[in-house]
């Protein structure tokens, strides 16, 4: 291994410092004894204890998890189907348009997505609540799922599906018995990505949530406007850990499984 040059070492340190010092400070102050956020008064976990007593936060957390689970599951189903049709569907009318449109929400400003969804929900007279947040999150996270899944499908050897058809599978059986098990790692990491995105989202949720349902990011945001409390620091620390675990799991699953499956597939396909 080459030793790192001093220039690279400094750049790396600065880069990571830039990214992580704010979060480290937040985590440290979540263990602060004092009620004043900027004054260190010794180590304590009392804010975590108080957090557990706070009904409003717990409710918001429960709503957030419900929304994340439902929306990421729906997004995974829809995104996988969309990816499958776009990669495998062959040429059909408007294919290019559709594949462009599936990526459009990726670059669309969230404010616009949120606003248009709000107008839609008002237009059709849907009361804003958990359902509308789930629908909104499904809408924007399914394109992420479809990007992840279609990049896997592109490298998928088509003759495997043809072999399944040839051996007596209907197209649906071929998908269920051959395609899905092989692309499963990509589908799982797509789900984890959608889950994390839904957990984080503030902008779209604030457009589509109603008085009956508030997600955690909205709760935190509005609480912070009244001043940062150590309780929020504690809550944020918990969220950071959840998201970190989620992202690390997703990338590990993807890395290991995709690499292994690809190796197996290539080995199976060619000597």
């Amino acid at each position: 291994m080459n030793r790192m040059s001093w220039f690279n070492a400094v750049s790396l340190t600065l880069g990571f410092a830039f990214l992580y010092i704010p979060m480290v400070i937040l985590v440290i102050f979540s263990f602060n004894e004092s009620k004043l956020v900027t004054v260190w008064a010794g180590f304590s976990t009392k804010w975590y204890g108080e957090l557990l007593q706070n009904e409003a936060f717990l409710n918001a957390a429960w709503v957030t998890i419900k929304v994340a689970v439902f929306s990421s599951t729906m997004a995974t189903v829809l995104g996988t189907i969309a990816a499958y049709v776009l990669v495998r569907g062959g040429r059909f009318m408007g294919r290019t348009l559709f594949s462009g449109m599936i990526y459009a929400p990726l670059v669309m400003p969230e404010v616009i997505t949120g606003l248009s969804l709000l107008l839609l929900f008002i237009g059709i007279g849907l009361d804003r609540g958990v359902l509308t947040i789930v629908l909104a999150h499904t809408t924007f996270s399914m394109c992420y799922v479809s990007v992840v899944v279609s990049s896997r499908l592109v490298t998928f050897d088509r003759s495997l599906e043809e072999a399944a058809l040839d051996l007596g599978c209907s197209p649906a059986e071929a998908f269920r018995l051959v395609t899905l098990p092989i692309i499963a790692p990509a589908v799982i990491s797509g789900w984890l990505l959608a889950f994390t995105l839904s957990l984080d989202d503030l902008v779209i949720a604030s457009f589509t949530s109603g008085p009956s349902a508030t997600t955690l990011p909205i709760k935190i945001f509005s609480a912070v406007r009244l001043g940062v409390s150590p309780e929020i620091n504690a809550l944020s620390t918990i969220m950071i850990s959840i998201v970190t675990v989620g992202v690390i799991t997703a990338s590990l699953v993807t890395k290991h499984q995709v690499a292994r499956q690809k190796r197996e597939e290539q080995a199976a396909v060619r000597t």
Binding site: S159, E162, L167, C169, A267, R270
Partner: protein, 375 residues
């Protein structure tokens, strides 16, 4: 051994298993298959041979059901199969890439098609065991495809496609991924399995040696058309066109004009100042018609002196010698500038070879050695 020779294509009573009737397949402007009519009989080992892009794979994919003909009909055992989807056809395919399911074990790969048929469990067991025995894979049943060698994977693919007792087995370049030695062994294994199971095999290949080895009949294709269908020996000895003669094996082509000279014999003038060549041909040529004499290098003899009683003899100079161990090919340049290849078996050690570079030699062949082909 059966006393009668297996050649149902010569029997007017025999019903073909597969009948292509004026089949055409177009992709936009490109015609992949051009008004093609062929018959394939039961128990045949039928090879589709041709350069890449000649339409042989398209033809096979139409049989499997992955492509539908633009025009014409395909009959399998008398039934038009155009409306039958691939999963309902009594046809199985062995893919060029083998397409083994990476997430399933060898055993499950072979059982895959049987399970789709809702076969009782112990019947599936028996059939899979039988296929494993046939392909000598018993020891590998529990392994995954990436844990076995290329030759073993090829046998798994074969076992999987044979497990369902197809009426017809399609093999798409089945041995392309194997090295030469393994390929030769596997060719004989394939023939053996075909004979044991009595299944009709259609094989697609661009390797003419492979087609000649395994097939009962070879169909040579070019640009979506069948040029010639015949047994390997007839394809080699009696090609019906310059294309087939040139595609199969090595050949010398001499251009000239024909002139009738006795019964089924022609004098072919090929170059001014040289005596015309004597050729026997059952195919009739009119006087002055342009033609090609196709003659295989191993049918041309090479000698130092002019042979006394040869039908044809020409003199030339050795340009090049290709030494292949068992045989040597001499490239001999004639005074006309044309180069004729002559092949001899190296029955003696190389140190005692009679000819070397730049030697003047005589090439000779009999009147029946070559085939006269129309332009």
């Amino acid at each position: 051994m059966t006393a009668s020779v297996f050649e149902p294509w010569n029997d007017p009573e025999a019903k073909p298993l597969i009948h292509f009737q004026n089949v055409t397949k177009r992709y936009g402007e490109f015609t992949a298959i051009d008004n093609l009519t062929i018959d394939i009989y039961e128990r045949e080992f039928y090879a589709l041979l041709g350069p890449s892009g000649c339409g042989k794979t398209t033809l096979m994919r139409m049989l499997a059901g992955f492509e539908t003909p633009t025009e014409g009909k395909i009959f399998l055992a008398g039934q038009d199969i155009a409306p039958v989807p691939p999963n309902k056809r009594a046809v199985n395919m062995m893919f060029q890439s083998y397409a083994l399911f990476p997430h399933l074990s060898i055993w499950e790969n072979i059982a895959f098609g049987l399970k789709r048929e809702r076969m009782p469990k112990h019947d599936i067991n028996d059939r899979v065991e039988e296929m494993l025995r046939l392909t000598r894979l018993e020891k590998f049943a529990r392994r995954k495809p990436h844990q076995i060698s290329g030759g073993q994977r090829q046998r798994v693919a074969l076992a999987r496609s044979l497990a369902k007792h197809p009426k017809l087995l399609l093999l798409d370049e089945p041995l392309g991924a194997l090295d030469k030695k393994l390929r030769q062994d596997t060719q004989f294994e394939l023939m053996d399995i075909q004979e044991k199971t009595g299944t009709t095999f259609v094989i697609v290949t661009h390797d003419q040696e492979e087609a000649m080895t395994v097939a009962s009949r070879v169909a040579v294709m070019d640009h979506g058309k069948i040029i010639q269908v015949a047994t390997p020996d007839r394809i080699y000895e009696n090609p019906n066109s310059v294309y087939v003669a040139d595609f199969i094996g090595d050949v010398n082509l001499i251009e000239g004009t024909a002139k009738l000279n006795g019964s089924e014999a022609y004098a072919m003038s090929w170059h001014e100042g040289h005596a015309p060549l004597t050729v026997k041909s059952p195919v009739a040529f009119s006087d002055g018609q342009k033609c090609h004499l196709a003659i295989r290098p191993e049918k041309v003899s090479i000698s130092a002196e002019k042979p006394a009683d040869a039908d044809n003899a020409v003199q030339g100079r050795i340009l090049d010698i290709a030494y292949l161990g068992n045989i040597s090919t001499y490239h001999v340049e004639l005074p006309t500038g044309a180069v004729i290849k002559a092949q001899t078996a190296n029955t003696r050690r190389i140190a005692r070879r009679a000819f070397t570079w730049e030697d003047t030699v005589w090439l000779s062949w009999t009147a029946t050695a070559g085939v006269l082909l129309a332009d």
